[in-house]
Symmetry: C2
Subunit: 197 residues, 2 copies
């Protein structure tokens, strides 16, 4: 196979979830497209690295510093939602149910995988909350073992700020799900966290 | 979401088999990688268009014209294998079972999808065979309705060259398969094409 095709297949294949067959299909797809299509992809990829930085307040990825959310005067500055990854903000913003600020930890506490407390933006979170304006910290880490450990760690590091409410996203049955098919852990949590009707 | 991230997600999402969720995952993956990784992908994508052309003899995609296979003196110049797409050559070359030349039609005859005879490199194939050195044309189009139609069309266009043998890849049970699970068409073809033991 021609070198440039092999190189493109290899580059696609290094990405997560892209196997050799898919990588091959993508390369040959681009070969059939006009140059403008390949150009757009090529430019978009490099601009990801050149135009995107971390917001120095919330560590979300953004073109500007502070990011659009931190700079938005319409947001509630007394509430901060703590997430593991920037993509979590995308999901939360889509709900339009939260009007406060965010804080991205960039990972979850997982000593088994070598992610320790200092690898996460926890110290920066404590500094933000220490500054005084924040009244509630909503911990929106994943409902996984690592997410749980991260939530507990955040909780511990904010313990000295007794005036600040630290909350966690509710866990229970997902909307639209059948109890018959719910797993044991979810059902147990749904029972424990039952609310008054 | 920041514009450059949205643009990258959109560019990935335009590719076949890449849904919005996968596109998002790819963009955020690249954001976490060193710039060199994004650079390599960006460069590989644009070089696909800038460095790759069609071989003017066999219409395979190549950095050179003629392509490596057409230029290789070690190949058998009396046999030409006709394929639908360049990827088919990759698969056939991997078998190391064919030492002749190739001819890429760039598609299959499919009037329903608007692919007519003139959209395929059939005229160029007839010219190559007309030139005289070729003794056998192996039609290696897909074992599909379109592939079959394409094979019959190639057969018809080469009819006047009675000295040239036109053959087709065998159809039957794939190696390692159970008869119990074979589909009716495959089993029918395997019966029709049975060989002497």
């Amino acid at each position: 196979m021609a070198e440039p095709i092999a190189r493109a297949i290899e580059a696609f294949g290094r990405m997560p979830g892209i196997g050799p067959k898919t990588a091959q299909r993508l390369a040959f797809y681009l070969l059939r497209q006009p140059r403008s299509e390949a150009e757009a992809l090529s430019r978009a990829v490099i601009e990801l690295k050149d135009l995107i930085r971390e917001c120095s307040t919330c560590f979300n990825l953004s073109e500007t510093d502070p990011c659009g959310i931190c700079a938005n005067d319409g947001r509630d500055r007394t509430a901060v939602c703590v997430v593991e990854e920037p993509l979590d903000i995308v999901a939360l913003e889509k709900t339009a149910s939260f009007k406060g600020l965010y804080h991205v930890l960039h990972g979850s506490f997982s000593p088994m995988e070598g992610v320790l407390e200092d690898d996460l933006r926890i110290r920066e979170l404590v500094q933000r909350v220490d500054a005084g304006a924040i009244e509630e910290v909503i911990v929106a880490t994943n409902a996984t073992v690592e997410g749980e450990a991260t939530a507990n760690l955040v909780r511990a590091r904010l313990r000295h700020l007794s005036a600040v409410r630290v909350t966690r996203l509710a866990q229970g049955l997902p909307i639209g799900s059948d109890i018959e098919y719910a797993d044991d852990y979810t059902l147990t949590r749904a029972l424990q966290n039952r609310t008054r009707l």
